[in-house]
């Protein structure tokens, strides 16, 4: 299982095409012909990763916005970011 460390530098894949639709952000991976719909926290994470952030920096940003402890937030992020990376939506340095 992929595990992110707090100093990992995260950024979104700028090659993705994106559009806003109602409350949703829709992404298209033009190479693969795959689509993703992001809502709520997922959408907010995508927006924050427009410029690179460390894993812990992202947690800090999210706890300001959502009623969540840093520990719970970090735990939820692990799974979500791993999926993003798997789908090619995320760069990790």
């Amino acid at each position: 299982m992929r595990s992110f460390r707090s100093e990992d530098k995260l950024s979104r894949n700028q090659e993705m095409l994106s559009t806003d639709l109602d409350q949703e952000t829709v992404l298209m991976n033009i190479e693969a012909g795959a689509y993703y719909g992001l809502e709520g926290p997922a959408q907010s994470i995508w927006e924050k990763l427009e410029s690179p952030l460390t894993f812990s920096g992202l947690v800090d940003e999210l706890v300001k916005e959502y009623q969540v402890t840093p520990e719970a937030c970090a735990a939820d992020l692990q799974g979500f970011l791993a999926r993003m990376e798997e789908e090619g939506l995320l760069h990790v340095e």
Binding site: L17, S18, T19, L21, D22, E24, V26, M28, I30, Y35
Partner: protein
Amino acid sequence: MSFHGYWAYGLRIHAELECPELPALQDESAEPDVTIHLLPAADHIPELTVSRRFHVQPGLFQLRVPETALYCVEDGKRIFITPFSGASMDKVRLFLLGSTLGALLYQRGLFPLHGSAVETPWGAMVFVGAQGVGKSTLAAEFHRKGYRLLSDDVCAVESTPDGLQVLPALSHIRLCPDAYDRLGTPQNARFDVDKFLFPMGDGYCPDPLPLCAIHILGNHEGEVPEYHNLRGMDRVVYLLGNLYRRRYLQGQDTQGALMRMAGEIAEKCTIATVSRRRDPESIHKLVEFLELEWAERFVATPLKEMV
């Protein structure tokens, strides 16, 4: 240099070859938006790449059609055609008016949908769907009933300060032979490469119209047609899935803008699936069905007064 003047997709076009399928330009003195150049025929034209017939990069598109021609489109403004020696000019024109103008639309940031468009009191109604699903047949039926068509095969959507507009293009309908037979073999039709081609005449709408709805045409088993509004991101997926020559999108410098436009179209207009039983005899019933659905769903807006 002598040229033929045409007016399609809201663009003034000056072409060195004759394209009877394109509506004529009324005023040939104004500067053209697009020029089409016919270069001398060549015996040999090198392949573009090993795997693909076409090449896309920002501001440049190339298409090589074996035994026909090489087409280059630059900056959404200039088209150069190098025919193969001995190529059929009907075929050269076919790939110019289809794929090549399609690539020009991408370069200009116009959203090219693969489908037909009909003028109605509610605005332009667009029909897209898989090849062979009956888009042109339905368009021909609307035409037969007295509706004007903006296009039978490709329609471009433009985002303007006044909203989304559908730009009319070819003033001919291309029909497969069985649809042609069903329409009672229109007399002024001629066979062109693989389909029957006939002019829309007065049934062509030369003016851009506000986009009302996009319909994805499909088949089902039931007796009664069904109209179903799409919601959520499906709308964007279907819009992009019905782009004309959608493989031309990747690599264009307009790709991001066109993706955002898909969101704008999805938000501002209706995107619906229309399914009906595949039965050539019932095409007129489908038109009546759609007329009733539209009257219930949309508010008719008075068409702009003719100047």
